[in-house]
Each structure stands twice: as C-alpha cells, then as structure tokens.
C-alpha cells in the first residue's frame, strides 16, 4: 500500500509519497508557499475569521489536492498530516477562533468553545478527500503544543538526552527543556524576522536569497542561494570600509539565516553599535540594504527567543552552565550557521553542543503513516506536556527578561546593565559562553530523505470576483506582489501570493470603490492545471 505524509507549514506544504510495506520514501513534492493569503499564522487566522473557516479550509485543501496530484499515488489508502495547530485546524475545517484570541474574556463573552484537538482518525470525505482514504491527524492542543512541537521533541533525540533544550526556529519559536524526566515547554512568538520576513529586503529561502556572510581576509563574502538552493559566492564587502565589490551571483534579497549572519558580522566588525548601524545600513548587493529598522526587527525576534530560553532555564531551576545540548529544528535551525546563531544570542551561550536536525514535522507525519498505532502515544504525551507548559504570556520572568532584551537591542542598553538588572530581579543570567562548542549538522537539508525526486509546485489557488467598473486597472497596478490580474472583467487573486489583511492596497486604490476583497470567492480551476 502507498500512503502520503504532509507537513502543512506556515510558509508552504511538503508532501511525500511512501511505500508502506517497504518503509520507503518514493518522492517528494513541496509548494513554493502556503496557499492562504498573508505571511504568518495571524494573517491566516484573520483570513479564516473574516471570510469564514470554510473558505480557508477550501483554499488549503485546493493546495493539498495539487500536492497529492503531483505525487501521483497509486493504490493509496492513508494520509497523515503534521504542522502547527493553526494549519492543522484549517486543514480539518474546525473552529480556530480560540487560537486567534488567547484572552479568556474574549472567548467567554462570545461563547467560543475550543474544539477537541486530540489526535484522531477520520474518513477522507470528512475533510473533502476520497472517502476510502484514512486520514490521521495528530494532537494539536494549543498554539504552543501542537504536533509540530511533539515532532521536534521526538525526532531530534531530545527525549533520550538530559539537561538539553530544543527549539523550532520559526515564527512561533516553540521550545522545550528537559531535566531528568521533566519536560517544560513554551513558545516565544518571536515573529517572522528570523524567516526573512518583516525585513525590508527580506525573502524566504529561494534562489537569489542571501543565506550567509563568511569571513575572508579582506572582509566578508556574501553567500547567495542558487537554483538548487546551495549557497554560492556573491558580492564581497568590507564592513568597516563600507565598500562593496559586485561579483559572482547576484542577490535578490535576504533570507532569515542571512539576517542572522549580517547581525553577527555587523557586531563583529563593529559596524553595528546597538541600537544602530553606523553609515546608515549595510549594503549587500545592488539595491539590497540591511537597515537600522531591520536590525530592530531582528533584535526583537532574537531577544524573544533568548528570553524564552532563559525563562525555561529559570523555571526548571537549571544553572546555565549545566546545559548540555541544544537541538535546532526547522528550516532556519538547519541552515543557519549554528555558531553565529549562538554568538548573537539565539542559542543559549552556555550550550556545549549544537545539533541541527532539519524538518522534524514531515518525519513525524511519515512515522505516523508507517505506524498508525503511534497516535495513542502522541495523545498521552501531549497530556503530560500540558501539565508542565509555561504560558510565557503570564510569566513575570519572561516579561522581566524581555524588557531587558528590548532595551539591549532597541535602546542600546549595555550588556553589563542587562546582567545587573536581572540579578537585581533574582533571575539567573548566562555564565560566560561555553568554550570548545561542537556543532553537529545531523541533517544537511531540512527534508531528511526526498526519495527519487523533489519537485516544487505552485499551489495555484485563486480567488475571483466580477463587478462592472471602468476597468482602469489601478487595483492591478497597486498590488505590490503581482498577485492580482484581470482578464475579461474578471478579477483574479493568486491567494498564496497575496499579502492578505495587512495589505488591501488593491481595494484602497480603486477610485470607484468597486473593488471588493471580501466579495471574492474561490475560483474553480479545471483539473490538471
């Protein structure tokens, strides 16, 4: 029998076709982006709340169907999914408002009851797929304790280790610490800067993205991802001299790992004197600059992660010096230069071993497809974890530390003051950084095993609308993403390319107030497109 495993991520879907008997990956298909409008889970939630969960479900399902079609399965009977609770709930088409508003008052006053999100098995037609397919959905209890968080703990080796931590370096930055038999979890909601978003020249990891800066005798070598997503040489720059030699591969933007590298290099070369970059920004290629505003965004995200780590260490009662291994999950955690990440503060300074483990979500989906009985174990694990979960939202320790981070990154408060203030507040601070840190790149690519082929597809899900207007095309020209087009008086929005609630420039540009984003509905494209 064949089965399909899916990792539904905020920045795209990854799918694999599996041979269940031979326990092998046959092929892999990934989408270039998530099909829902917007760049982060909040934008996706916003879309679902504004337009109704059914439409959001249909959009996501449209992309899932494309992935399945491209995987071209034969005699398949099982589909397993993994991902964060928002994406999994949208996939199932169930209530999501409780994920959008963590405040109890809001939920109670509107009678919103969180649905049961423990792991379960469905018949395909319940989610709009073939009724003969069995769909297995792992538990996704709250924002922070979803199937993706379980995956990073189970698949990294974290659970078999002691005095170690694990973090998924993504927008929500789920993290956990293990001390003896105790596992404490949290989520620092760092924001999308470490994935290269909300950065003026930011982009997701794709060809043309700056992914690293390497030290060379004359200064720094910019590394740019090529068509195979391998880093290759680009421009050379001298940070102190503020000069740039345009060479090699031309870059189009900076990705998350590139952001970390620029912050590291800027601090190292003393071009960054927090909270500013001297000389008004760092030029990395023609028209690509890392600005002081970008530095603030990156700093707030790095700061949230460090505050989360320190909170976990504090609540677990562990001295920073006793920490052993840090497992780094997620695409950013896999591709980032681990030592640079540690130097800027994204990895606790005292961690002695850094292990980069790739995308664990897709691996868990695969395990589940091969061994469906695993579901019970996941359910009982989730219950245990819930008992030791620290809501950073109500943790004064987190608040106190994050305030120091903000001052350090955005006001230029010296590090000595940071440590002094925390010790005044009775919070343990980082001991001197660990020496002789070892780095193990356990996985060189985020997908562990792609099988015979890896194909990238466009999710190609569109929203459309028609109305009678002057057809002046201002709306089309106003779209910063080229996501909107108009043919024969029909307006088509490429849902996955659209920026969503945060934008709406198309609507704003319409002189006749005819353009109606909320009036758009799902476009049914002919099969096989």
């Amino acid at each position: 029998m064949q089965a399909i495993s899916l990792d539904i991520g905020t920045s795209g879907i990854r799918g694999q076709l599996l041979d269940v008997e031979r326990r092998r990956v046959l092929r892999t298909v990934i989408t270039s982006h998530n099909p829902l409008p917007g760049a982060n889970v909040m934008d996706h939630l916003d879309f679902a709340i504004e337009r109704g969960p059914d439409l959001a479900h249909e959009v996501l399902l449209g992309a899932v169907r494309q992935v399945i079609r491209s995987l071209a399965p034969d005699r398949w009977g099982r589909l397993t999914v993994c991902g964060n609770p928002v994406q999994l709930s949208l996939f199932e088409g169930i209530e999501v408002r409780d994920l959008a508003y963590a405040g109890r008052n809001y939920l109670d006053s509107r009678g919103i009851v969180p649905p049961d999100r423990s792991g379960h098995v469905l018949q395909g037609d319940a989610v709009g797929l073939d009724p003969n397919v069995e769909v297995i959905v792992p538990p996704a209890i709250r924002h922070e304790i979803g199937a993706d968080a379980l995956a990073m703990m189970i698949k990294s080796g974290f659970l078999d280790d002691d005095l170690c931590m694990v973090t998924d370096y993504g927008t929500n930055a789920e993290m956990a610490i293990k001390v003896g038999d105790r596992v404490l979890t949290g989520s620092a909601a760092a924001g999308p800067a470490i994935e290269g978003q909300h950065i003026s020249a930011g982009m997701l990891a794709s060809p043309g993205a700056i992914s690293d800066l390497m030290a060379i005798p004359e200064g720094w070598q910019v590394m740019v991802l090529n068509e195979e997503l391998k880093p290759c040489a680009g421009a050379k720059l001298s940070l102190r001299g503020n000069t740039l030699k345009l060479l090699g591969r031309r870059a189009q933007g900076i990705t998350g790992t590139g952001v970390i590298a620029v912050v590291f290099a800027g601090l190292e070369a003393e071009r960054i004197a927090l909270p500013r970059i001297s000389g008004g920004g760092i030029s990395l290629d023609r028209n690509i600059r890392f600005t002081t505003a970008d530095l603030l965004e990156a700093g707030k995200a790095i700061g949230a992660i460090r505050a989360g780590h320190m909170t976990l260490l504090e609540e677990a009662g562990v001295d920073h010096g006793d920490l052993g291994t840090m497992y780094m999950a997620g695409a950013s955690g896999t591709y980032v230069d681990a030592r640079k990440a540690q130097a800027v503060g994204m990895v606790p300074a005292s961690a002695k071993k850094l292990v980069q483990i790739g995308n664990t979500s897709l691996e868990l989906a695969k395990d589940l497809a091969l061994d469906p009985e695993m579901l019970d174990r996941l359910n009982s694990m989730t219950k245990e974890l819930l008992a030791h979960h620290i809501m950073f939202a109500s943790s004064p320790t987190f608040s106190n530390i994050y305030v120091q981070e903000l001052a350090y990154w955005t006001e230029g408060m010296p590090w000595e003051a940071y440590e002094r203030n925390l010790s005044e507040l009775g919070i343990r601070t980082a001991t001197p950084r660990a020496r002789d840190v070892t780095v193990e790149r356990r996985k060189l690519t985020d997908i562990w095993d792609v099988g015979e082929s890896l194909t990238m597809i466009d999710p190609g899900v569109f929203l459309s609308g028609t109305w009678s207007c002057d057809l002046c095309m201002r709306c089309v020209r106003a779209c910063p993403e080229g996501a909107l087009r108009c043919s024969e008086a029909k307006f088509l929005v490429d849902a996955g390319r659209c920026l969503g609630t945060a934008c709406r420039r198309c609507e704003g540009a319409c002189p006749q107030k005819m353009f109606s984003y909320s009036g758009l509905s799902l476009e049914n494209y002919p099969e096989g497109r």
């Binding site: 006053s109 001298s238 102190r240 001299g241 003393e270 109500s394 003051a417 203030n421």
Partner: protein, 277 residues
C-alpha cells in the same frame, strides 16, 4: 565618528596596548584609520550623567539617600528608608515630592538623554511606588496631575508595552488605574464612570484585537463621558486611529504623557489631535 587625527592616533595606541588581538585584526583589514569606525570617545557623555544627578539630588542627606535608592531601583531599601523617615515625623507629602520624585525625575531625564533605559525606569518606578504606598497610608491622597486608566484590548495578552506606558505615566505624576490585559469594553466604561477617569490609554499588538480600541473609544463617546482614548501599540497606526472618533494616536510612552497632559489640561480629543499631530 573620529574627527581628528591626533585623537585617532591616540586611540589606536590605546587599542594596541589594551587589546592587541583586535588591533592586529583591524590593521590587517586595513580599516582602522577609515572614517566610520567609531572608537567611542565618551568623556563628555560621562560628565553629563553626574550633572543630571546633581541637578535633582536633594540637599538633605536622608532625602538624598532615598532619591539614590529610587535611582538604583531598590524597592526594599527605598521602603526601609521612607519608613524610617516617617517614623522620625517627616511630612509624607514632602517625602513624596522632595525625596521620591527627584529620583524618578533624574531617571526620566537620563532616559531622555539616552543615558538610562526602560528597564531602569521600570525598576525605579517600582521602588518609588513602594515608598509612595507607605506615605499614602499615612495621609490619604497625594496631589496628582490627573486620573487615568490603562488597559490592553480584549483578547490580547501582550502587556509589556502597556506596563511601560503605565509606569512612565505614574512617574510623571499621574494617578493610574491599571485594568490589565484582555479587558472588555464594558469594564473600561464601568471604571471610567465609577472612578472619575479623565483619560484612558489603550494598547494592542495583534491585528485581530484592534477593533476593541475602536469600540471602546466609541462607547465612551456614546455614554457622553467626555473621556478620550489614547491608542498605541505595535498593531495600531495613526491611519487606523483616525478612522474613529474620541481617540488620539501615540507612538511612544512619552506621547502618552503629552496626550495625558493636554487632556487633563482641559482639551478635548479634536484639540489634542490638532495640537500634537
């Protein structure tokens, strides 16, 4: 930025003796003498911290000790010193205005100059509030510049920014009732009515909870309370705030102080917008 070659040469020699490894690296990269390299000359800056402290430091040594412990952000010590002074029969109002307030004023002025940071203001504020509580217990209410309420919109738990705003408003002499986070509109209205609030400050950081500020501003207006809502937080923009009545947008905690000063000085929301935008 290095402006003078003598200073540069002097600094280079200093770096060479203090940190030879760094010196070597800088020379190797050929960058040490280039402009844009900040060697950090701080003599002038250091003097002014002392000047600011001297400007506010009370003459009376016991008062000076209280003010210093507020600056250092030591709550327990501040309370000890204030309790001792009260025991000696010092006037509570005098203690607040001439011993506790100078401490926070020093900190706020240092902050304006970029010589102190938000966490330090928060800690100093905490120390000062500890002292004020003791004084208040002795003598009802201490004169304030106005009575305000702060809250975070319903559904939103991000309260770090709101706490900073509340602390800085208090440090500037306002009486602030903090309603916390995830606060429904009805609760704000109830408090405004019952407590004679003059202005409310609302914050939110999520796009999904912004609407709570709009409904609060509008309901305050409908109830005819003449209590405007100052709005801020990362999800809030001036363009958004300008889409509803009875509201004023602000970016920083200092904007919140400016808005509160205008409102408590008798201006309505339209006048304040005109004044500050």
């Amino acid at each position: 930025m290095v402006r003078h070659l003598d200073i540069l040469a002097e600094e280079m020699l200093k770096i060479r003796s203090r940190d030879p490894a760094r010196y070597k690296r800088l020379i190797q990269e050929g960058m040490l003498a280039e402009l844009g390299f900040d060697v950090g000359i701080k003599t002038k800056a250091q003097a002014s911290v002392e000047e600011v402290k001297a400007k506010f430091r009370p003459k009376d040594p016991t008062y000076a000790a209280i003010s210093d412990s507020v600056i250092a952000g030591k709550r327990a010590r501040t309370k000890e010193l204030v309790a001792a002074s009260l025991q000696q029969g010092k006037d509570p109002v005098d203690l607040v205005t001439n011993a506790l307030m100078p401490g926070i004023q020093t900190q706020c002025e240092l902050y304006d100059l970029g010589k102190a940071f938000v966490p330090e203001i928060l800690m100093s504020n905490d120390a000062m509030q500890g002292g004020i509580e003791l004084c208040q217990a002795q003598l009802g209410d201490i004169p304030k510049k106005g009575k305000l309420a702060t809250f975070v919109a319903e559904g939103d738990l991000h309260d770090i920014g709101k706490n900073i705003v509340a602390a800085i408003l208090r440090a500037n002499g306002f009486d602030v009732i903090d309603l916390g986070r995830d606060v429904p509109t009805a609760k704000v209205i109830e408090t405004a009515k019952a407590q004679g609030i003059q202005m409310v400050s609302g914050s939110t950081l999520m796009s999904t909870t912004k609407a709570g500020l709009k409904s609060t501003a509008e309901t305050l207006e409908e109830e005819g309370l003449k209590v405007p809502l100052a709005c801020g937080g990362a999800a809030v923009s001036r363009a958004f705030v300008d889409t509803f009545v009875n509201s004023i947008y602000g970016k920083s905690p200092l904007d919140a102080v400016k808005i509160a000063t205008e409102v408590c000085g008798g201006k309505d929301w339209k006048e304040v917008r005109k004044e500050l935008y």
